[in-house]
């Protein structure tokens, strides 16, 4: 660990730190552009000059390019260094327009900051400036090339870090152009990171354009709710509207990047149909009456029909605290423990995932650092997009990726693909966990696993189910040894699926609940941010069960199908409007802080005009409450998050760290269970002849919150069906043909897409909410189906 002196202060830094970073550790910020913590240093902008007075290097140097060494004496304030930086910033600014007031970057512009910090305040250049035509880069990013300072950060982000191939740098010297070959939407699902990474106003957020200045935004550290990875985000709100999301920085999870689903999925919070008032049979009622009614109705039903006539339903969308208090409510009422999750298969897979010992659980940082990643039944871009980016970094560092999947899993890096039937995945994992020999087709995998130093096994809960998940964890444990660790990661459906599953423990699941509802035993159902009508695969049975209810109460902030049917609707806050904790797929507890208070967005109340001129002491649409606070009241507990967390930590020893959790910081792993991992059994599967239908998550359109976000409207796919080329050939189907899909009772006509990179005999449909495909649900065993050609393209 070298020790050096910068501006008369001594600092000791880890080996390999550059002098610019060392200065930052002392709180000395020297102007810089091309260096970025995630992209590294390239020494291109020439701005970070410091004077090296003593030590192995002397003279004026680019501090980002010099590794900190013992004995260095460095000055950032030497007049030569200051003058040098002043000159550099002056020529970086030569061509720059003089119009910060109309630039959307203004106020959070690194160029503004660095120009001021470098002391350049008077423009001497009076010549002509270089100007460009801008491109249409699609729905997410606005392009204004005149503002470019050629720092190359965008190219390094887009091509190197994210693996995109359709954005780059054209031309040379004075005519550099950063853009695409032709106008058109950026293809990478991580393109939104250009907004955060470009230090000037060239690449800005299109949906957010001209909405707010940075200093007018309310921001707070938060966690992305759009998949189970739990990336750090910083949402920004103004005028009672969530206006944008930028990436936070959690080195254990997402680093400085997020995916476009996470960045542009926020708009469900502003949805005009969102429930905002407590409603009893459609009539507005005050909160105290609503809560009283709820308790009265439930107690009454218990008196008449017994305590097992009440069912409580939690979810992976609700916070850990709210889900826990639901359990407290059930204890208070004397009813059965809550069911967590409206999809029994997914719930069971998540419960299996929670058994993984902490030391075997892989974070995204572990994935980035791995030398062999084995994906079995996991489609990162669909089920946890930032995992795809983490895998790419592993490959950039020389790692290898092997994919076993029935789907054509695509990643932004080179991979080795082995098409596998869904049941083959289970066989593979159970064979690995039992140390049995694998079929010859999987031999390369065995060899790779033997050679790897830091392998990570990754699976998707949807395709593996509880059985496969258990096998995956057991396989990791089997392959883990003193000499080399083998870690595991399971992708789960929702941001707090892990937390909900942890609370579910050995409790009932939704299948049992469905049976009880069908038998007419359940008289009241209380849903906590859960919508069984969109998430339960057995909709017929559910509808029958709902018919038999006397009372349906729904806590939610989404305009969900079940909310529309509720007798009592209790509007709750969205994640950004409250505080709480989520547990991500690796078992990391993460607290989120309130960004803003709920209220009908001004955009809606003023309908694009001046805000209403009538005055009132209340804020329109401000009634939604945090679910945990409502439940605390119902349980007669103090409405105090810290107390609830302390109580929960004593109840559940695995959550011991919960009371110390801060919204800032990288979260905290839960403790391992004290039970040993359960062992899978050898699997025997029967051969199937019919085509097997598999419904799968997609990048856009499957996740429920972002499915309500309008900035994502342009990128949501249209329904389609995917077939192997061989099967298509046999059935006389060409790409683009309309085909009829018959599965069970359902018949649909869809356009066909073909692939040769998938398992033959499998038919894949994307799970697209609010389309005819929404009744095909992932997390189910595949079902036999028929596909016939209807008409050619």
């Amino acid at each position: 660990m070298p020790t050096l002196i910068i501006d008369n202060q001594s600092v000791t830094v880890p080996e390999g730190t550059n002098v610019l970073e060392a200065a930052q550790q002392l709180g000395i910020v020297v102007p810089h552009f091309c260096y970025h913590e995630a992209l590294g240093a390239v020494g291109a902008c020439r701005l970070c000059a410091m004077l090296f007075i003593d030590g192995p290097v002397k003279g004026m140097q680019m501090s980002c390019m010099v590794e900190a060494k013992d004995g260095m004496v460095v000055s950032t304030e030497a007049p030569e260094a200051v003058a040098y930086r002043g000159q550099v910033i002056e020529w970086l600014m030569l061509n720059h327009p003089h119009d910060c007031p109309v630039c959307d970057e203004g106020g959070e512009c690194q160029l503004q900051d660095m120009t001021v910090a470098s002391g350049h305040s008077v423009r001497r250049y009076t010549g002509k400036k270089r100007t460009y035509l801008n491109q249409d880069l699609g729905p997410f990013i606005h392009h204004e090339m005149n503002r470019c300072i050629q720092c190359y950060r965008c190219v390094r982000t887009y091509q190197d870090y994210c693996g995109g191939t359709d954005y780059g740098v054209l031309g040379s010297n004075q005519r550099l152009y950063f853009g695409r070959f032709q106008d058109g939407p950026l293809e990478s699902p991580f393109a939104g990171n250009l907004i955060d990474l470009c230090p000037t106003g060239v690449l800005t957020n299109k949906p957010y354009r001209f909405t707010s200045r940075f200093w007018d935004l309310q921001e707070a550290p938060s966690v992305c709710p759009h998949c189970s990875l739990g990336c750090a985000t910083i949402p920004g709100a103004r005028f009672r509207e969530l206006q944008r999301v930028r990436s936070g920085n959690n080195p254990e999870i997402n680093g400085c990047f997020i995916c476009d689903r996470g960045r542009f999925g926020y708009d469900y919070v502003n949805h005009s149909d969102r429930p905002r008032t407590p409603l009893l049979h459609g009539e507005e009622i005050p909160w105290n009456e609503a809560l009283e009614t709820l308790l009265q109705r439930l107690t009454k039903l218990i008196e008449c029909h017994g305590s097992d006539s009440i069912a409580l339903l939690g979810s992976g969308r609700a916070s850990l605290e709210a889900n826990y208090l639901l359990q407290r409510l059930s204890e208070q009422l004397g009813s059965a423990a809550p069911v967590y999750g409206s999809h029994a298969g997914r719930d069971r897979a998540a419960r299996a995932a929670t058994t993984l010992p902490t030391e075997l659980s892989a974070s995204l940082a572990d994935v980035r650092n791995s030398d062999l990643i084995l994906l079995t039944g996991a489609d990162p871009l669909a089920e946890g997009p930032m995992l795809a980016l983490a895998i790419r970094q592993a490959v950039r560092n020389g790692g290898r990726v092997m994919i076993c999947d029935p789907r054509p899993v695509e990643l932004p890096c080179s991979t080795e693909y082995l098409a596998c039937q869904p049941q083959e995945l289970l066989q593979l994992l159970s064979a690995l966990s039992l140390g049995e020999t694998l079929p010859t087709k999987l031999q390369p995998l065995v060899e790779a696993l033997q050679l790897a130093q830091r392998p990570v096994l990754i699976g998707g809960g949807d395709l593996l189910g509880a059985e496969g998940t258990t096998a995956l964890l057991a396989a990791a444990q089997k392959l883990n040894s003193e000499d080399r660790s083998c870690l595991a990661m399971v992708l789960l459906p929702e941001a707090n699926s892990f937390g909900a599953a942890l609370l579910a423990a050995d409790g009932p699941d939704f299948e049992q609940l469905l049976a009880d509802m069908a038998s007419g035993r359940i008289k009241a159902l209380v849903c906590l941010e859960a919508d069984p009508l969109t998430d339960c695969p057995d909709r017929q049975q559910l509808l029958q069960g709902l018919e038999q209810l006397d009372f349906l109460a729904v806590f939610d902030h989404l305009p969900s199908l079940i909310a529309a049917k509720a007798d009592l609707l209790l509007p709750t806050t969205a994640l950004a409007e409250g505080a709480g904790t989520l547990i991500n797929n690796e078992g990391r507890m993460q607290a989120f802080a309130p960004v803003f208070s709920p209220g009908q967005p001004l955009r809606i109340t003023s309908q694009g005009n001046h805000p209403p001129r009538s005055f009132s002491t209340t804020t329109p649409g401000a009634l939604p409450c945090q679910a945990w606070a409502l439940l605390a009241k119902l349980c007669d507990l103090p409405v105090d998050l810290a107390k609830i967390r302390r109580e929960l930590a004593t109840q559940e020893p695995r959550l011991a760290g919960l009371p110390d959790l801060l919204a800032e910081g990288s979260g905290q792993r839960i403790q391992s269970a004290d039970k040993p991992l359960s062992q899978p059994h050898a699997l025997i599967t029967e051969q199937v002849d019919a085509l097997q239908l598999l419904a799968c998550e997609t990048l856009y359109g499957s996740e429920v919150l972002s499915a309500h976000s309008s900035p994502l409207d342009p990128v949501r796919p249209q329904p389609y069906l995917l077939l192997h080329e061989l099967d298509a050939d046999r059935l006389g189907i060409a790409a683009g043909d309309l085909v009829r899909l018959s599965a069970g009772e359902i018949q649909l006509t869809l356009p066909a897409q073909l692939s040769d990179r998938m398992a033959a005999g499998v038919v894949i449909v994307p799970h697209l909410r609010r389309t005819e495909l929404e009744s095909f649900y992932p997390g189910q065993p595949s079902q036999p189906c028929r596909v016939e050609k209807v008409s050619a393209l």
């Binding site: 191939t165 359709d166 054209l170 695409r180 070959f181 032709q182």
Partner: protein
Amino acid sequence: MAELLSAEEIIELKGQIAAVHEPRELIIEVLQAVQKSHGWVPDAGVKLAAELLGLSPLQVDEVATFYDKIYRSPVGRKVIHVCDSICCWTRGTELVYRHLQQVLGIVPGETTSDGCFTLLPTCCLGACDKSPAMRIGDRLYGELTVERVNTILADERQETEA
């Protein structure tokens, strides 16, 4: 648009591409082939090259637009690249450059009305010992003076008319 590359040329290029470790190595060669048959490289040429090389059009265009000897817009029958680098500056290239513009009646980047010459500045031609220097097509000319430029232009023009 006429065919950019013949079927034989495509087969030949595909063979070369298959033989290299990294297709990017051959971006210039493929673009030059297009330029040879078409005179310059239109967007369709970039797309064709991308297809042959298994790259995105942007990845090909990054290289195409970097080099000033790959023409991404139409040029005259002959392109004059006048050296615009340091040794030539010290030896009076300015006079040569100004003279060329005068006699051709065009500014840098333009093509003469008869379609014969396009005038472009270029970075060091590696002929510093003979500076000031210029290049017309594949021919290098050094030790330029106004008189020499006149003779060279006459000869070159005659050649295109022949």
